[in-house]
Amino acid sequence: MPKSWISDDMRALVGRTFGSRRSSAPISLSDVRKWAIAIYYPEVPPRLFWDEEYAATTSHGGVVAPEEFNPFAWFTAEGPVMAPTWEGPIRDSGPESAFGVKGPDTTFILNGGMEVSYGVRMKPGDVITSSETTLLDYQERQSRLGLMLITRSETTWTNQNDQMVKVTRGIGIRY
């Protein structure tokens, strides 16, 4: 177990942006409905997420997506999204590989948490664009599973009218 996972090369990445801007395919009503069913199963989800007639009578004027809906799953404007197989070491799964910097020799990765601020709602037909991601900081903490590396990053989503949809600060944990 190292004393620290954070190298000088990694420390120099703080504040820099990585990844690339990407846009979703237009959000489909079917995807919104399926997302809502998955969240609310085994109960029926709120009508706002599937009943166009009802949704038209609300202040939204139509079906909207749940705030936390992900329009980038499976397929984006660029084509199919081929998710990682998660087999073998996950050494290149952090932001370091985007900069050509050697990442830590960690074995596991976890979603540590997130902080999200919301703007306008997503709705069917919207095309959502995700900004590049900014690496906010690295932190470390001892836990029952060993020394954990905590990486915080920030990404902004906007819609086709350049309105802010949400700003997400993600917390990645590797150990």
Partner: protein, 139 residues
């Protein structure tokens, strides 16, 4: 609706297990071994497979939505994933009002939110800010 500091909002409860995780994996394209395979969960230091953090994050939105209604607005939600969400246990999403203020046509409400097991183990502690239309508020 009435809003008081210290008020607990109605809970949102779901049984944790593959019936929920597989559906969420399908819509979020989130097929990660620790959420699908007990051996993978154990290799990562847990008693078995466990649910996605993103699904608990969704449950925290669901508990807020059922309280504020369709015309309410979720402004911010934050949480940390502290304990694994294990199969067979009921996940309970909760919220408690910690402050509120009158802003024009809206009442802005700050809440402490969290998920816990039926045994009271907190899994995802966090915070949220929501807005409800003033017309829905009964002082």
């Amino acid at each position: 609706m009435q809003i008081e500091i210290g008020q607990e909002i109605p809970t949102f409860e779901r049984m944790a297990g593959f019936h929920a995780w597989n559906r969420f994996a399908a819509v979020n394209d989130e097929f990660v071994p620790i959420h699908m395979d007990d051996d993978a969960g154990r290799r990562a230091g847990n008693p078995g497979a466990f649910g996605m953090g993103s699904l608990q994050f969704s449950y925290l939105h669901a508990v807020l939505r059922q309280w504020i209604g369709d015309d309410g607005r979720i402004m911010e939600v934050a949480c940390q994933f502290r304990a694994p969400n294990l199969r067979g246990l009921t996940t309970i999403a909760r919220g408690k009002v910690v402050g509120f203020r009158d802003e024009g046509n809206e009442i802005i409400v700050d809440l402490q939110v969290w998920t816990e097991t039926e045994e009271g183990t907190v899994m995802a502690p966090g915070s949220a800010t929501v807005s409800v239309p003033k017309s829905a508020y009964v002082p």
